[in-house]
Each structure stands twice: as C-alpha cells, then as structure tokens.
Symmetry: C2
Subunit: 213 residues, 2 copies
Amino acid sequence: MNLTERTKLRRLPARGSHELESIYGILDAAFLAHVGFCANGQPFVIPTNFGREDDTLFIHGSAASRMLRELSTGVPACVTVTHVDGLVLARSAFHHSMNYRSVVAFGTAKKIEDDERKMHALRVISDHLIRGRWDEVREPNEKEMKQTSVLEFAIEEASAKVRVGGPIDDEEDYALPVWAGVLPLRMQAGEPVGDVRLVKEDLPEYVIQYQRK
Amino acid sequence: MNLTERTKLRRLPARGSHELESIYGILDAAFLAHVGFCANGQPFVIPTNFGREDDTLFIHGSAASRMLRELSTGVPACVTVTHVDGLVLARSAFHHSMNYRSVVAFGTAKKIEDDERKMHALRVISDHLIRGRWDEVREPNEKEMKQTSVLEFAIEEASAKVRVGGPIDDEEDYALPVWAGVLPLRMQAGEPVGDVRLVKEDLPEYVIQYQRK
C-alpha cells in the first residue's frame, strides 16, 4: 500500500492516519463495506459483506451478480468502511460533528478461480462476520460453490480517518446555557431468535457473546 | 423518480421494492450515507451525513471539500444508505444471510447558492440527525455560512432492498444439530457524556430519548 493523490481526497489531514494498524483495526471491526465502481461514467455504491487477510479483502456473492462481474474485470474500485461512534453535540450548529472511524481503500479486484483458495476466502468472510460459525455449519458443496463468486480485492492505497472526543466550541459560545457533549452510538446485538425447526436449541457461545468493536 | 437500467443492477428482483414510501422510510431512518462519484474513471466512496426533503437529499461540508466540489459540477452520483438489522445464521454456510434495509439512489447534485435555502437545508440535515437540536443551539453566522457548502442531490432513480426473517435452509439440512436463527443488530445510544465546561447540566429530552428506527 502506498499513498498517492487518490487518498488525498479528504480535507482534514490532521484527522488522517495512514498507519496500517489503524486501517486494519477499522476494517476488522466492520463486516459491511460499501463498494464503489464506475460503469460508463456512472458510479455505483453497493453494500456488501467482506473479510480481510493482510491487504486483501474478500467479497462474495451470486455468480450472477452484476457488481461482482463488473469488479472482476479489474476496473478501479473503492471500498469504504465506516463506523459511527457518536454524535458530537456542540453549542453552535456549525461545530456539530460525529465521532467515527472510516477507511477508504482503493484497488482492483479479481475473481478467485482456484477452488481451494475460494473455499479459504469464504471461510475468512465467515470468520470475519461471526467467528466460530464456519466450524459448525455444513460447508458449501460443489453446486453451491459454482453458484458463488468470490473476489479478492488487493488494497493498493488506503487511508483511515478517526474522530474522537467532545465538541470544540468557539470561546464565546461556552457561556451558552445549552447542553453539549457526546452521545455515544454503537451497534448492539439483541436477543437471538431461534428458527422454528431447531433440533438443537442451545445457543452457541459465539452468538451469546457476539459484539463488534 | 423512475426506474431504468441503472437500478437494475441488483440480482434479486424478489427483494426489490421501488415504492417511494419504503425508500423514504429507509433514508429517514439513517443519518449516514455513502456517496459515490467518479473522477477520471476512479470511483470514490465517501461517508457523509445527510438530510431528506421530498426527493432531495441535502449534504454539507467544508467549502474546501473536494467531494463537494466534484459533486457540485453535476457529475453522476450515487447515494447509498444501508441498515444492518441482523445476522441470519443458517445450518449451511451457503444460506447465511443478513437482514438489512438499503437504498441505492442515483442523481446529480448542485450547490445551493441562495442563503435562505442553504440555511433551510442545514436545518433539515440537523433535524434529520437529531430533531430538536437546531432550536437550542446558536445558528451559523455569516462567516460560518461562507465556510460551509451545501449541496442538493435530486434523486432521479432509486431502489430499495429489504431482507427480513429467518434462515431458509435446504430441506435435508434441517436435521443438522446446529443452532440457526437470527441475531438482531441495531444501533443503540449509550450514556451521554457531558462536556466539561457545561453551564447547564440538564440533558435535553431529545438526547435522553434518542433512537434510530
């Protein structure tokens, strides 16, 4: 990965972080990415699951998926991951902000043809979503593998942006009798809902303990 | 809004919904969108806040923002909003899925030059994020307005996709002794953290009650 013009899109270099560790941490805390590509000058932004291994992101879907077909031609792609961590409520409208972590990654994707690597990639995606699940469920059979496309997206450049902390107001606004601070937000798991046809009702530990960073 | 080739990107028409009500409902439940545009064939996907009024989405940022400058030239844009509602855990790896609501909207943006409309748009964005806040805080002054760009994105086409419900397994897999079902996920607010320099400690009702659909 390296840094060139493309990742200099963002305006606030002070918030920028190009450290690999930060980028990987943000990617690994998410399981949903928004993938962008252009087709005849028209941008498409499609939400999708993903998994990461080193600087490779794996995405999968139906073999008939137009997004996967477009991406597998090797067109430039952009994969963006965003976590909202809180609303930053300032005393002035102007200084309102959001605490967040995001990664914008550029690169190109190609289809995985090798069956063993394809199965490995599916496992990485599954582990990324909910670790422990893959070992319990029935693995994809030959027919299902044929119906599934898996791409590997090589991250060529990436940048992370992070905002943390409370509001920063103009000095004269601190006298205003307005509540200000941070309202933390996070994605939380609710009560698991078992399928009606369960032959085994016990909840796996990885479901009970499920949480994202 | 109408439906043309662009929104036929997605593969599962059975999950498609082009009803306006559904599209507006999904947009209004979110405050974060991923905006896509192409510059010299390179796609960019940038997370941003937004507000909605009819079929117009307002987005704002620094007057120096490259994204806003690019978009305001009227290039084709794509605005995507995604809610993850739960993990769908099936008995086979292949039938794992996610419950979600998403909207992919296509259109073009332009800069709002009229000051009154610009202020109105900022209020719509604020109300969309946290209703009640705008009335309490100091409004943007002239200098702040100059530092802020606001765009209106006219939705020309949009499609919604929604998945709800439990896993659907292959008949023979129902005998497997694997827990299956849905793990609901939602964004939840935590305990508000007041700024250290508050002159008024009382939490507003709209902060205490804050929740997204």
